[in-house]
Each structure stands twice: as structure tokens, then as C-alpha cells.
Amino acid sequence: MKLTFNWLKEKSGVDWSVEEMEDRLTRSGTAGVAHKINPDHFKEVVVGQVTKLDKHPNADKLLVTEVNTGDATHTIICGAPNCAVGQKVVVALPGANLKGEFKVKEIKMRGVESAGMICAEDELGLSDDHSGIMVLDDEAPLGRPVFDYLALDDAVIDFEITPNRPDCLSAVGVAREIAVLAQKDFIVKIDEPKEVDKKASDYIKVVIDDPDGCPRYTARIIENITIGESPWWLRKRLLNCGIRPINNIVDITNYVMLETGHPLHAFDYDRFGSKEVIVRRARAGEKFITLDNQEHELDDSILLITNGEKGVAAAGVMGGLESEVENETTTILLEAAYFNPTVIRRSSQKLGISSESSYRFERGVDPNGVVAAADRTAALMAELAGGRVLAGVVDNYPKKISPVKIELRPEQVKRILGADIPVLFMEKTLRGLGLEVETGSALKTLAPTNRPDLVREIDLVEEIARIYGLDKIPTARQNGGPLFTPSHRRDTIKEDLRRILNGFGFEETLSSGMAHAGRLERVDSTLDPIKVTNQLSDEFAAMRTRILYSLLVSTGNNIRHRNIDINIFEIGRVYLKEKSGPVEPTYLGLLMTGQTEDVYWKSQAAPSDLFEVKGIVEAVADSLGLNSPVLKAIAIPGYDKHYSYEVLIDDQKVGSVGQVDKKVARLFDIKQNCLAAELHVEKLIELYQGLKEYKPLPKFPASSRDIAVIVDLSVPAAKIREAIIASGGELLESVKIFDLFIGEAVPEGKKSLAFGINFRSAEKTLEDEEVDKTHGQIVAHLEKSFNARLRE
């Protein structure tokens, strides 16, 4: 909401600079940012009068004018259709620098010299109106700088008003804040219109069918008005406050709304259609055209102002097209009402319309300020539109809303704020804010109805705090609380995992957790994702069921930027549907593609393969103190079914490893081979078996033997290794596979596998004969079980 500095100064009677006003208000909860009009942009811009008007000899649409600026006459070419002899206009003379971006010079236009420019509002930066030149009042003195004449020495303050402070959505409300902060008395001037003898009640009746939705509705009648343009001061205020001037009647209602915070609506009385206002809920299916010419189908959540027959306004939101004020309007039916905030909020949401009016009603206007706002509006209509105000306000107020009693214990202020604030200051502040205060050991107060946020003691504590100044509350220098706060494995394991993966050269990524429903389905069609019902776009339509999805998105983004060698990981939640409701297990996902490591001049980098990922998974398990993972081939969605594995630790499923299905990868613009793993973090926590007991270091040296066997290609290396362990007896300490060979030296359909075996005894140094004997047993066993042949 925008208000102007001069307006606030005038209303509050406090003589602060713009900067002080901005700062003090911001520090007390009425955050505002001030923008000043730059006087340099109005240099050489003066009031002039058009004294002569001729058609341009060489251009149909241009006019050649003579403009008098008091001490001189200038020939100026103008293209505006509304230019006429006698008008007072805004003249920019050569040397002017409009908006700081357009320098005015003497120029020749199609053979005729032009010594300046007659300006439209947009050219001056006053509004975006370019329909014609700006026409000033007849009294405007010739030659007077426009900056002075229009009183542009002002600043617009753009406020961010919190939803609890509807009273501050007005000049009066903000001015009251200023006065309280300056410790000055604040007086609201009351403007009562002169009334004529005719009674408004003979012209209109008000019936309220839904007192909960509409606790109060008042009507006034103003006749004999002439629709026209509002005076500049009024248009200027509206423009500065971001409201487009329309005509004097609409402008007045908007102006009073900005001034008092009270939305008003002016109907054309003659087009209203009856002499009775009936406020009721809309009927299901009832149709209504708002004044922006949109037809709406209504239901009973919408409060409707009707003429007894049909709707004339969506209460508190927007008026109807049929009873809108037009150029021919002469009699106004002025509505000033109090509507239930919740009802207006629902209406506004249902209609999809948020207006200045609904914005204020849904936050709560002052039910007891209704008549004053109507009076002020009627008085202005008399003054500025020639209106005659009929006697009396037709006031239907079935649900009286009264000020709220609140007790404030001064010691409570100290208890909450930790500051010693004098009781006298509290009293003064509350009175300044419009509360009635009765002193005693507790302050007995009555909170005014323009402050619906003041209901409880704590609400008053807040008022004291913000007017006193939060900066003045003493800052504690000590820290209280429990003696000890534990850390949780749920948190620390993530730190550990990051360190481990960083150590292996992986970069951490972070994603929204939301997914494109279609692509997610292609990654894993077996998991039905939780869908977002009001999604922002297709990219954020479902919650991810697999961390793999996010890794693929990140990989795709990188490959698009030509980062093709990628080692990334992400730790985050996936979202799964369970009968009991959503569950959110945390996963560690990692993905490798491209080269495994940085270019090094000494060696050739190799493309990543599944063994790289397997190695990482094994190392992760080891570094968390878990037993070695076992990978079991099984088709898992998202992975190529030939290269897809379940990860088991202690026979429990903890995740998966695989080569990303090429068809899936392509959905993310990835054409290169991707290897991935997903590990369920909570499972990893569960599997940890605690501290291990120390194993004494061996006292005697080990003996080692290598063994190379040729077996069928189909025999898994792990099976042979298991067989070696099984036949190696007690002396066997460890077995490592150190070579795989397939090729010329080996028969077709066969492979050669080489194992390095360590033997050791806990009791003595082994003799060669003992080792050879065991070695022989192993060879015999392999020959028998796998039809293996020793490779020499």
C-alpha cells in the first residue's frame, strides 16, 4: 500500500523528515520504503497557456500552437487530440530533462520550428497516462514551475502492512502510529456533510438477510452530482498511491478508502433497479456480471448485494456492471458496510478476484467507523461533484460489535520482554493507540473496534514492545537451557556420508524433491507417487519416489552444459505412499558417468563402470562399520535389467546398484552410460552393530601362494573364491582375486582367474610343506568342483 509523505505529515501533525518517518515506522512494525520525486526532472517545466492553434502545414496529425508562459510566447508543435485554445498546460522548455532520460531541445518538425513540448502525464513520470496532454486548472499561474505548482515536493512511501493490522491500511491509521511514536496527541477530524431536507430513508431501505455475513450496512443518497474529472490534487494523491483516477465519484470513494481504510461503493441510484437493498447469500447457479465485464456463476459461499431481484454487487469484493456509475449518473446510492472477514475472504477466493476492497474487508475494517466514512465521502461528493446530500444515514446494524476489554498486568510486560518499561509509558502508549485505559495494579483497557488484533493481554504487550522499540530491550548476555543436548545418528550419519563421498571425489547435489509425474513414472512405474494437487508446473507435479530421479535431472542439467564427467551424490528423502499415510525414508543416491577421474598425464583415465560403483558401495559400508555388502542380480525399475542389483548387508535389503536404463536416461537428455546406487540411510543406521572387540595382531609371518585356474566363462568368480575359502581350512587367512584373463592364451569359452592366497597360523611360523599341502587340497577341490585346470 502506498501513501504520500505530505499526506501523513498533514494527518499526524508530526514534522519529521521523510527518512525519519520511514525509519521510525519501519522500526515499529509499519515497514515502508520511501521514493522521492526528483526535482531535476522538472527543471524548465512550467505552466503555460495555449493562445493559438493551427494545423501543421505539412502534417495532418500535428498542431502548431502558441503557448504563453507569462514572460514569453513559444511556438510548440503538439500532436495531442485534446489540445485546445485557452487550456493551461505543462510546458517543457528547451533544457528540460524529463524523467532524467529525455532532453527537450529546439527542433524543426517537417519545416516548422518547435521550441519545447506540451506534456502528457506519462512524459512527466506522474502516471502512465498517454491519452492526451495534461490539462491544469484554469487558476494555474503562468510561468510557475510545475514542480511547485503541483506540490511534487513529496515522497511516496510504499508500505508492507502485516495481515494483523488492517487499521494501517489507511492514511489515518499510519498517521496515528506516527503520532504515538512522536508522543503527540492524535485527533481524527470528522467531516459531516451539509444535508438537504429530503430524507434518504424515503429513497432506500436496507434489509440484511445474513447478519453473520453482514453485521452492518449503511446507505446514503447523494443527488444532483455531475460526473467529471477530479481536481489535480485528488488525482495526484491517487496516482501517487497507485490507483488510477476514473471519475470524481469513483475517485472520491477510492480516496476515502485510502484515507480511512474503509472501502465504499457508489451505485448509480437510477440504475439500481429498486428502492431496497437486500443483502443475502447468493444462490447456487446464480449468475452475476462484475464491473470488469466478467460473468461469474455463484454459490452460497458468496455474499451478494441485491436490489431484491438480482445481484448488484459481490459484497466487499466488486460491484456489478449494471449499476456502475456512468457519465450520465446524477444520483448516487453510497454503500458503507461492515462485512464478515471470513465471508469476504471466501467470496474473493471463489470469484478469483482480489480487490483493494476485499483486501481490507478480509483483514477487518472498523464496524463502528462505517458512518464516519460515509459522511466523509458524501461531503466530498457535495464539494467536488456538486452533489446534494439527502438527510440521514440508512443504518442497519443487526449485530453490534463492541470494544473488547483487556487487562494488562505491567509485570507481564517485564516477564515477556525482559525490560523495565515504566507503567506510565504503557498507559500513554495504549491511549495514543486509541484504547481507553483505567489505571490500577493492572491496566483495565478497552480496545477500539478498528484494532481487531487486540484481544488478549499478549496483544497489548506487543503494542508496548513495538512502540517502546525492540532495539531498546536489553540483550541477554547469558544462555540458559538444558545441561546437555544429545546429537542423533540420524543427523551425524549424513555428515559422515558426505565426508566419505567427498573423499571419493563426489560432488553433493541438492534437489527440490519434486518431480515431473510422467518422467518419474518412467523411472519407476511400480511406485505410485504422491501427487501435488495445485502444482506450479509439470516439473513439480509429484513427490519423488526414487532419489535416482533427482540424480538424473542433475546429470541431464550438467550434460546440457557439456560437463560430461560426473560423480555426484545426493542425500534426501523420497516420498512413498503407505496405507498409514506418507512415509519419507532418507536415501543416499550416487551416480557416475563419463571418466572416473581427472585427466592425469601419467595414466589413461578409464570410463566409469559398475565395478567403480560397487567399490564405492563396499567402501561406504566399510566406513560406517558395517559388514560387506552382497549384490544380488534382480531387475529393478530404472536400471538395465541385465545390470541391476539389490544390495544386501547381513541379508537385509539396503538399496540397489545398477546401470541406468538407456531409455530412461534419454528422457533426461542423457545419452552416455550412467551407473548409479541408492542406499536407504535409516537401514544403514539400523545395521550398525556397535563397537567391535579388538583382535590381537598376528605374531607369526604369513605365507602366500598364487593360483591361476582356467574355468568356463559362466562360473562366477565369487563361487571359486568361496570354494577356495571352504577348502583352505584353518590356515587360510585371506583370498584376493588379482587377475582375470580372457583371450588367446585361454581356450574359447573359458577364462583364467588368478587368486592370491595368504596362509597363517596363530601358533607358529608355517613350514613350506604345510602350505603346499593345503594349497594342493584347494587345487584338487577346484578341479573337482569346477572342472578347473591349473594355468602354468
Binding site: L470, I473, A476, N479, T509, V532
Partner: protein, 338 residues
């Protein structure tokens, strides 16, 4: 010349000759000359047997010491001579070392870890709640009445089944209050969601650290103390703070905290949008309605709560001008932060 003098003389010449030896052959000859079976030093050692016990001990010690010394000199010189021969003229140490790549945490993690760490050192315990949250924990119990404009400030994503994606981690307050009795001193870091258009300044997901402390006699002054300490530590410089009253349904009084723009020092610049201040967090004293919802007695305890957005200070600190960079996960971006 007595034996001691002889030893000294042998030592001196031997040292000089050995250091000057320019080949392994010369060195070997010198070794034989001094330390061989018939070498000078060896003969002296052999002659010791004719001396008295006392002399034997003294001179013997010196002679043995010299022998050890000369052995070492020969060995060192031999090493020098052989390495001089084997110097590899192709050795070029301007070639890069073997790349040992240490990966990077995500910038959000880095900043989140910093924030968590500071508050953990001040005695806050970490707690967490679900991302998919009920209206009750996200709004109702936090004193957001249904159909209240305060809900507009937090554009909410809803999911099937009537739940929503939490718009703040403040719901963890309620979950923890339900489980514990005061004193409760907790931070709740996590991901939060807002149904806002994605552009350079806003994203539909961000991270937040919510903190709260409920105990007897907790005041707004305590809140100020904790947040000031946090800011001093986090920004690593003496920042100037501004507590600006604001509105949150679950705290009263409520405030937003701004720091003096550290780029322009308050003069106004594009970073602070010419306001001189940067908004970094929201806070306040926990509203009695919240205590009522969880069965705490607001006449017995008071408490404060604060919520810090993680992305904003992360971006401010590194002058990143587009929040989307955080979620695009371009590794060239990720690698810039430690």
C-alpha cells in the same frame, strides 16, 4: 707423537681426502687405506692391547668414534657419487601432481552445517519432522486460523489426501512440545516448500532452520542475545542488527531481524535494494495460543522461536544473484564452495 695425536691427524687427512674423492674407486682405495685390514686406523686399534687399562679405555673410545665417523663419511660420499650419475634429465617437476579430488558439499549444506553448528554450541538439540505435513501441524496448532489472510503469506502446495508440503519447519515445535516437557531447546533444520513462481529471486523449495527455547523466565532479551551471538559468529564480523516488529501468527511480539548491508555498510546498493539493510530471519515470543494447543501453561513458561532461511544468507555471502543456480546442480557451481 702419542696415540691421541696420531688419531687426530689421521682423522683430519682422512676427512679431507674422502670428501675430495671423485670416484667410487678412489673412495674404495681410501677405505682400504684407512679402515682395511692393514689400514692406518686398524693398526692403531690393534696396537691398543699394549696400553694400560685406563689408556685403553680413553684412546679406544676415540679410535672407535673415528672409525664410525669415517664409515659414515664413506657411505654418504658413495651415495652422492652414485646419485650424481643417475640424475634423470627428463625429470620435470612442473608437471602436475596426481589429481586427488576431494568433492564438495552443496552450498546449502555448507551454510546449514554452519548454522546448525553455531546453535548446537549454544545448547540446541536437532529435531526433525516430515516434509509432508498436516494442516494441523503446519498451520492450525501454530495459531493460523482457517481462512485467515496470514495463510496468504505462505503459498502452500497441497498433496493428494489433504496433506500439504510444509511451508516452514515451525511445525516441529508442535511435534516436539507434544513429546517433551520444558525446558525444550531445539533447532529444526529442513526443506520447506512454497508455491511461488520460480525466478532468479525465488524458488519453490528452500531450507530453513527453526529454533525454539521454552523454559521458565525466557524473555525477548534472551532471544535477542542468542540471535546477536549467532549473527556475530555467522557473519564473522561485527554486524549491526535491527529488530523490526512484524507479524507471525505463532509468535507475539514478533520481529524480523535485518543486518546492516555488509556490501555498502548501509549506504544503499543493489545487494540491499538500496535499503541499507538485509532481512535475514524472523522471530518472536511463542504465542500463548501455541502453548495452549500443546498443553503448556503460559503462566509458568515462556519461550522464543526463530526461523532462518538458509539460501538467502548463502547467496548474500557469496553474491550469487540467481537462486536457481542452487538447484540446477551444475558441478562447476558446486565446486566453487567449501
Amino acid at each position: 707423537m702419542d696415540i691421541a695425536e696420531q688419531l687426530q691427524k689421521i682423522g683430519q687427512t682422512a676427512r679431507e681426502e674422502m670428501s675430495a674423492a671423485d670416484s667410487a674407486d678412489v673412495l674404495e682405495k681410501l677405505r682400504v687405506h684407512y679402515l682395511g685390514k692393514k689400514g692406518e686406523l686398524t693398526s692403531i686399534l690393534r696396537g691398543l692391547k699394549d696400553l694400560s687399562r685406563e689408556e685403553k679405555r680413553e684412546v679406544g673410545g676415540q679410535a672407535n668414534k673415528l672409525k664410525t665417523e669415517l664409515d659414515r663419511i664413506i657411505e654418504d660420499r658413495r651415495e652422492e657419487l652414485s646419485s650424481a650419475i643417475s640424475i634423470d634429465s627428463s625429470f620435470d617437476f612442473t608437471l602436475p601432481g596426481r589429481p586427488r579430488h576431494y568433492g564438495h558439499r552443496h552450498l546449502v549444506t555448507i551454510v546449514m552445517d554452519q548454522i546448525n553448528g553455531i546453535f548446537q554450541r549454544m545448547g540446541f538439540e536437532i529435531a526433525d519432522g516430515p516434509d509432508i505435513e498436516s494442516d494441523y501441524y503446519n498451520f492450525e496448532a501454530l495459531n493460523f486460523p482457517p481462512d485467515h489472510p496470514a495463510r496468504d503469506e505462505q503459498d502452500t502446495f497441497y498433496v493428494e489426501g489433504g496433506s500439504l508440503l510444509r511451508t516452514h519447519t515451525s511445525g516441529v515445535q508442535i511435534r516436539e512440545f507434544e513429546k517433551r516437557k520444558p525446558p525444550v531447546k531445539i533447532i529444526a533444520p529442513g526443506k520447506v516448500f512454497r508455491n511461488e513462481a520460480v525466478n532468479a529471486r525465488s524458488y519453490c523449495v528452500f531450507h530453513q532452520v527453526e529454533g525454539f527455547y521454552v523454559d521458565e523466565n525466557v524473555t525477548f532479551g534472551d532471544l535477542k542475545g542468542v540471535l546477536e551471538a549467532f549473527c556475530y559468529e555467522f557473519f564473522q564480523e561485527s554486524v549491526q542488527l535491527r529488530f523490526r516488529p512484524s507479524f507471525f501468527p505463532f509468535t507475539e511480539p514478533s520481529a524480523e531481524v535485518d543486518v546492516r548491508c555488509f556490501l555498502c555498510n548501509g549506504k544503499g546498493c543493489s545487494l540491499c535494494k538500496h535499503e541499507g539493510w538485509l532481512e535475514i530471519l524472523g522471530c518472536g515470543m511463542i504465542d500463548p495460543e501455541v502453548f495452549k494447543a500443546v498443553g503448556y501453561d503460559s503462566d509458568k513458561v515462556t519461550g522464543y522461536a526463530f526461523g532462518i532461511g538458509v539460501e538467502r544468507p548463502a547467496l548474500l555471502k557469496h553474491r550469487v544473484n540467481d537462486i536457481r543456480l542452487l538447484f540446477e546442480n551444475d558441478i562447476r557451481f558446486i565446486k566453487q564452495f567449501r
